[in-house]
Subunit: 202 residues, 2 copies
């Protein structure tokens, strides 16, 4: 798969911690992509990396956190979105969520790395990571934090708009979307996101 | 680039019409992807294919039509969208446009071919085809047919929602979006598209 790697991925137990962490991440990426997030256990990842499962938890915490580490996102989307959600009520949460989104994607250095991750999503393995991993690890906790009804439908609706915005504004660079100010992006997209989060649905 | 080809792309003048057409299409794909739609002339494509420009027009019509032929879309999006637009007023045109979109994408045979084209968009060359070709050849004529103000902003906004829907419903297959009925898709997305087409913008 084409997610960026900081170093070649060694296999088996190594004496140095950096190699061990890299081996765990490589095993995690492989396992999540091949079998899906739900069907890949920390125990299986540890076995493939040749380490004890306790070491996986020591380095990476929970399985959710290991998944996000394996994606090599430059930021944890939960750490960006959850404070924005908690900062006010749900009736105008979309504006805060879109502003939080822009605070990450409009940062040139972060954007370069996010675009690289995003391109990997259209690999067959990357698709599986998004479908089986990103949704339970990121979208479901965010939906739960929002306290909305039918989060299992509403959060993918939000994702369907934000993925298209990412494609046109950041990945492909379609004008005038690529040059819109952050305020204009909020004015255009926050009402859409708000309707998907709290509006009437069929 | 990874757009599907029906046959290997021969170069230079060939005696048989199928080879000549294939040579023209290969030259068109190469030219549009390398230099962009606007900067690639029919004359230059004809020269690369080793044929007379009149033959290009004979086989493919206008440069717009040659571009769509080079994309190898299974349907001409203008022929799907323009009748839907003409069938009523602009105040409820989004519902007709989303239904026209679904009539194509929800057809299993067409969908397989469209997904293949769509995956090619995330190639570097495919991005250029979308940015420099699809917008002037498809989005601008549709915007003109709608008779809306600021089509140069409104049509990319519509595209940003429909591209995300394509990604989640058809390419990645995120549930429950992948299984929603057409009526539910219309109920959810037509208001978004209508607002982008005729609502207040910043």
């Amino acid at each position: 798969m084409s997610l960026p790697r900081e170093s070649p991925a060694p296999r088996g137990r190594r004496p140095g911690a950096p190699d061990t962490k890299a081996a765990i991440l490589a095993a995690a990426r492989h396992g999540f992509a091949a079998a899906g997030f739900a069907r890949t256990s920390v125990r299986a990842i540890a076995a493939e990396a040749g380490v004890d499962p306790a070491l996986v938890h020591h380095y990476f915490g929970t399985k959710d956190e290991l998944f996000l580490a394996a994606l090599e996102l430059p930021v944890d989307p939960r750490k960006v979105l959850l404070p924005a959600i908690a900062a006010g009520g749900v009736d105008d949460v979309a504006e805060r969520m879109v502003r939080a989104f822009l605070s990450v994607w409009d940062d040139p250095e972060i954007r370069v790395r996010l675009v690289a991750v995003f391109r990997g999503i259209l690999d067959a393995e990357g698709e599986r990571l998004l479908r089986d991993g990103f949704i339970p690890v990121v979208l479901e906790p965010v939906g739960a934090a929002l306290g909305i009804d039918r989060p299992e439908l509403r959060m993918p609706l939000v994702a369907s708009q934000m993925v298209g915005l990412i494609m046109l504004r950041y990945v492909i660079g379609v004008e005038p979307l690529a040059s819109l100010s952050g305020d204009d992006v909020v004015a255009i997209y926050a009402p859409t996101v708000q309707r998907y989060l709290t509006g009437d649905l069929p």
